[in-house]
């Protein structure tokens, strides 16, 4: 039997039983559209989650922190640490980010720069004219922030004595402490090249406050990154060191105590995870945006499987419907099967016809399902984007990306899957039809 004849016969037969085929296919439509909508939703959620993470994290950056005892978090065997061989028996020893440890980090292949940084651990207020603001003050051991991949929208990225470089959102953090209720807040000041005062506070045991005021000039404003730099004020590490020493009343020896945090920039984002693993094996804590990304991705794969599974249950119910329809159809058409065999149809011909009809129901249902699923996904997208954009405009968040995303492979997969499900559920009835003894089929009442 030629394929074209088989195809024509199958769709001719299905066309002759439109109502029954339609009712059976509705089950497949529901199942397939559920698969398409739910998997699209999971993919859309993943996409918007990873998109926003790309905004936050620089994928070539690894944040490294010391381990203050309690194990190395991975890796084993002896390795060199600060010129001293450390092995697994010394797991409880703190692993500090001393200058010699920094040298070791620099030697890891693929590492571009290693830059220590420190937060200002004291009460601090920045004043500009009548305005005040509390900020995230970061001391950084580099003479130029471009080493961190940061760019300036105004001024320079270079750090020098008496200057600071600020993040793009810093001007928005200023407020007027004397503002009366109902009074309009002042507009964000243009701080470029302006003198600001940084007031650092410390308290003695009796709660007496001591202040130290430093005057600094804003030498640069950074481009918006969507991450931590937007809300940070950068100054030379030497300044935060001396301010921290003053606030805490103790001297800081980086060679002995190590840095509290080091930024490792790698040459290629693809190496970041590998290098982070190597750093972890050395006993430090290493955090990359990619490790979040990896975690998020595996979470969403699980979500896709669960969502797809829910849709698959609906398809399973539809499959039982197809099997039932085909079994009924074969009972009703027993004499037709006998006739087919009498006029020379082989068992294989009969099997192909009934398998094809079952697959055809799956295909028709699948086609309907992907159209409805796709339309529903687009509808959800429109609603979600309108709703989220409204929320974002009220709360000042970033505008939303897509909520539901249907990649091209999903409808293709859903169509193949529903056709296969149809074929599979028609297998038993079709086998029964194919192996009927012609005379029994012809005499069936």
């Amino acid at each position: 039997m030629k394929f074209i004849d088989l195809f024509r016969l199958i769709f001719g037969n299905l066309g002759r039983r439109k109502a029954r085929v339609a009712l059976t296919a509705i089950g497949v439509v529901i199942g397939t559209s559920a698969v398409v909508i739910l998997v699209s939703l999971a993919i859309g959620l993943q996409k918007s989650a990873t998109d926003s993470l790309y905004g936050i994290g620089d994928l070539t950056q690894i944040d490294v922190m010391p381990t203050y005892g309690g194990g190395f978090g991975g890796g084993g065997g002896p390795f060199m640490m600060g010129g001293v061989s450390v092995d697994s028996s010394q797991l409880d020893q703190p692993v500090l980010l001393t200058n010699s440890a920094l040298e070791q980090l620099r030697e890891i292949p693929g590492v571009k720069v290693v830059i220590p940084r420190d937060y200002l651990n004291a009460g601090v207020v920045i004043r500009y004219q009548r305005l005040e603001g509390g900020m995230n003050i970061i001391g950084i051991a580099t003479d130029d922030l471009s080493n961190l991949g940061l760019e300036a929208s105004q001024g320079v990225t270079a750090l020098s004595r008496g200057t600071i470089v600020i993040g793009s959102m810093i001007p928005n953090n200023f407020y007027d402490p004397r503002q009366r209720p109902g009074q309009e807040p002042p507009p964000p000041p243009d701080l470029m090249d302006q003198q600001i005062s940084m007031v650092v506070f410390k308290y003695d045991q009796n709660g007496n406050e001591t202040k130290k005021t430093i005057s600094l000039r804003v030498a640069g404003v950074l481009n918006e990154t969507g991450g931590e730099p937007d809300y940070s004020v950068y100054l030379p590490l030497a300044l935060t060191k001396s301010l921290n020493e003053w606030a805490n009343g103790t001297r800081i020896n980086y060679n002995k105590d190590g840095y509290s945090q080091v930024i490792v920039k790698v040459e290629d984002a693809n190496q970041a995870l590998d290098i982070a693993d190597q750093i972890t094996a050395m006993g430090f804590q290493a955090i990359t945006p990619q490790s979040y990304l990896q975690g998020i991705n595996s979470f969403f794969v699980v979500l896709q499987v669960i969502f797809g599974g829910v849709g698959a249950i609906a398809l399973l119910v539809a499959a039982i419907g197809i099997a039932n329809t085909m079994a009924m159809s074969i009972l009703e058409r027993t004499r037709e099967i006998g006739l087919m065999k009498a006029v020379g149809a082989t068992n294989r011909d009969v099997l192909s016809i009934f398998l094809g009809e079952a697959a055809g129901i799956g295909f028709i249902g699948g086609l309907g399902g992907i159209v409805i699923g796709w339309l529903a996904a687009q509808g959800m997208n429109v609603l979600a984007i309108v709703f989220l954009a409204n929320q974002a405009s009220q709360q000042g968040g970033p505008p939303p990306s897509v909520a539901v995303y249907t990649p091209i492979w999903l409808p293709i997969f859903a169509l193949i899957f529903s056709t296969l499900i149809g074929m599979l559920s028609g297998l038993y009835p079709a086998l029964r039809a194919a192996t009927m003894i012609p005379v029994n089929a012809l005499k069936y009442e």
Binding site: M1, K2, D5, R8, L9, R16, R17, R335, E336, G338, L339, M340, K341, A342, V343, G344, A345, T346, N347, R348, D349, I437, P438, V439, L442
Partner: protein, 241 residues
């Protein structure tokens, strides 16, 4: 002398019915020559339909040999039997076995879907055959819109569509009134005259008028015409056929 078209030796067909074994055919030997019009007569339960289905390769014998055109049907597998039927035989059934959802033309063309005949040729051939059986004006009617006689004529056209050399008919007039029955018999006779071998299984004595060869079956055995007549006449007063 040429060998017969159909040669049957020691053919038996036994059924299990409940606990009992029914011997539908019990050692049948027969020869049927090509280009003959053979009528197999027998009362209900004589085994004549079983014989027809075995000769048509639609059923399996319990034992014995069936040779058609020197090919052993009893030794063929299902696939070979299907292909053999396709190229050699045309079937006509008592209850027509037309597909209700197809019109007359589609019913006639139905067997050609398995032979790969080009589509254009199919409708051409089917139309001609419907014309031949006098139903050219009914080609787009469905079976439910046709009389019994018309349906059986559609079935005859369908049996001819693959141009078989052997026509097997199982009680072709069984469901028809006298006039329609005679028309169908005439049609079969025409087929025989056109060179085909026709084998009809019936208990309608009118069929013998057209026959060139008669076979009588009683209780699964081939008997002579005299034996058959005396047996059926004896049975008549007892109320059976």
């Amino acid at each position: 002398m040429t060998s017969p078209l159909i040669r049957v030796r020691g053919l038996t067909k036994h059924y299990q019915m409940g606990g009992a074994i029914v011997r539908a055919l019990d050692g049948v030997d027969l020869d049927i020559d090509a280009h003959t019009f053979t009528v197999v007569m027998g009362p209900s339960g004589s085994g004549k339909s079983s014989l027809l289905y075995l000769l048509g390769g639609l059923d399996r014998s319990t034992s014995g040999e069936i040779l058609i055109s020197d090919e052993r049907l009893d030794q063929m597998d299902e696939n070979a039997l299907a292909l053999f039927r396709r190229r050699t035989m045309g079937f006509i059934f008592q209850s027509y076995n037309l597909i209700a959802s197809m019109n007359a033309l589609e019913n006639v063309a139905f067997p050609m879907q398995f032979t790969g005949t080009p589509v254009g040729e199919r409708s051409e051939k089917s139309r001609k055959l419907l014309e031949q059986v006098g139903l050219a004006d009914r080609s787009h009617h469905r079976p439910t819109e046709l009389s019994g006689g018309q349906q059986q004529r559609v079935a005859v056209a369908r049996a001819l569509v693959n141009n078989p050399s052997l026509i097997l008919a199982d009680e072709p007039t069984g469901n028809l009134d006298t006039v329609s029955g005679i028309a169908v018999m005439q049609l079969l006779s025409d087929l025989h005259r056109s060179g085909r071998t026709v084998l009809v299984v019936t208990h309608d004595p009118r069929m013998t008028r057209f026959a060139t060869n008669k076979i009588f079956l009683l209780d699964g055995h081939v008997v002579s015409e005299e034996e058959y007549k005396s047996a059926t006449l004896e049975a008549a007063p007892a109320g059976s056929e």
